[in-house]
């Protein structure tokens, strides 16, 4: 997997990422998780997480776009005129998003239909834009890729957790390819979980969990 390679290459002191690799990875996945800690990109998190499979594909799309845009923004970081840097970033992000969307439409039609406009809406996802603007613009390409991977995984895993919970409680079973986890006939599916409001409750629990485990900078400090 790409993230492992990236990790190995930058593990050594003063490696390809200048020693920033693991810290970057940890930051994106855990301490500064884009969804659960920064609470960004909620639109798609609420809309597509009604099924585990949808969440996973969305996570992949996000990973692809985030890595791609981070890489290219980072490569061009010394050439992009400051005045139009935002527009340039959006153009790069949009290109990757549309590439992925076209690919889904051609080879995974069913999935593309289920995700609807939300793959396209990654263009407006503030996490991608934020990473490009805040990280890739100041850092060399390889560590930018690591950052993209970290955020992609952080976002994707958070989506997958929400998707899993919603599909399990919302339809009584989780289907992923040939794997089926069934709660059994005694369980009455909770339709609220399938609806977008259900995502809010799961999402709230997820944020609470992250804050609880991470401990710390929530409101408890203020007491």
């Amino acid at each position: 997997m790409a993230d492992k390679n990236a990790c190995m290459t930058c593990g050594g002191r003063g490696g390809l990422c200048g020693g920033k690799g693991i810290a970057t990875l940890k930051e994106g996945v855990w301490t500064n998780n884009p969804l659960a800690i920064q609470v960004l990109g909620i639109c798609s998190a609420l809309a597509v997480t009604n099924k585990l499979s949808n969440s996973l594909v969305m996570g992949c799309a996000f990973l692809f776009v985030c890595v791609g845009s981070n890489l290219f923004v980072s490569l061009l970081r010394n050439n992009i005129p400051h005045r139009i840097r935002m527009i340039a970033e959006v153009a790069i992000i949009a290109t990757f998003v549309i590439l992925f969307d076209q690919f889904l439409k051609a080879y995974y039609w069913e999935m593309s239909k289920q995700l609807g406009p939300y793959v396209g809406l990654i263009i407006t996802n503030c996490i991608v834009m934020g990473r490009a603007e805040a990280f890739a613009l100041q850092n060399p390409p390889i560590v930018s890729i690591v950052d993209g991977v970290a955020n992609g995984i952080g976002y994707g895993v958070a989506l997958a957790i929400i998707g899993f919970a919603r599909e399990l409680f919302g339809s009584g079973q989780v289907v992923l390819g040939n794997l089926v986890l069934d709660l059994g006939y005694w369980y009455t599916p909770n339709q609220l979980m399938i609806l977008a409001p259900g995502a809010f409750f799961v999402f709230g629990v997820l944020i609470a969990f992250f804050n609880l485990v991470k401990g710390g900078d929530g409101e408890e400090d203020k007491k």
């Binding site: 050439n79 005045r83 153009a91 439409k105 051609a106 039609w109």
Partner: protein, 215 residues
């Protein structure tokens, strides 16, 4: 860099970036276009075949579906003005019409509903119904896509005992229903009303066009 040169550089950079992105996307679209169109067509065909009760492998890919469709189903247009497309099911090798299907579209409760209505060759008995592209309330109106609901239409007539066109979707539990009465989904009165409305519209159009065609 002087201001003038910086401006020119900005424009050139923007133009180049735009050009590269545009080229990439055009290439991607060109490569995937045929695939995408096939997928779109296959989805429609899947619905038509299901309504017509034509046998097909549910795992079949897009191109297989298109072949099955082309071999078994003939598209006919009915009426001279605004022709209505009929999908006539003649199993391969025989000349006998087994069923016909028409598409219907109408507003649902939250968004448009599309579907196909298939009739026996007598143009009166319902052979099958499918719904697709609906956004009804999950668990209530959304149940229209289930096999359980669609199968309630099978064998019903599209006209009542007095030969008045139209189906009637009733939300009454445990009551004997008439030849054109279909039991609806309890709790989804609005969706059922809309479905009834759009189906009756297509039934009337069909009757009208067939009358005009002098068949």
């Amino acid at each position: 860099m002087s201001k003038m040169r910086y401006n020119i550089y900005t424009v050139v950079f923007a133009a180049t970036l735009g050009l590269v992105c545009a080229l990439l996307l055009t290439a991607a679209t060109q490569v995937t276009r045929t695939k995408q169109e096939e997928n779109k067509k296959a989805e429609e065909i899947r619905n038509i075949l299901t309504a017509l009760k034509a046998p097909f492998d549910s795992q079949a890919g897009a191109d297989e579906l298109i072949t099955i469709f082309e071999r078994n189903v003939v598209e006919q247009s009915l009426g001279k003005k605004d022709p209505l497309t009929l999908y006539v099911y003649k199993p391969e090798g025989s000349d006998e019409i087994v069923a016909v299907a028409v598409r219907f579209i109408g507003p649902g409760l939250w968004g448009p509903i599309k579907g196909f209505l298939a009739l026996e060759p007598d143009y009166k008995t319902i052979r099958g119904v499918t719904f697709y592209e609906q956004e009804e309330t999950p668990g209530l109106g959304g149940e229209i896509v289930t096999e359980d609901f669609c199968s309630r239409f099978e064998g019903k007539q599209i006209a009542n005992e007095q030969n008045e066109w139209g189906v009637d979707i009733m939300i009454v539990s445990g009551e004997q229903v008439g030849v054109n009465k279909i039991s609806g989904i309890s709790g989804a009165t609005m969706t059922c009303d809309k479905v009834q409305e759009m189906m009756n519209a297509i039934i009337e159009t069909l009757a009208e066009k067939r009358g005009a065609d002098g068949r």
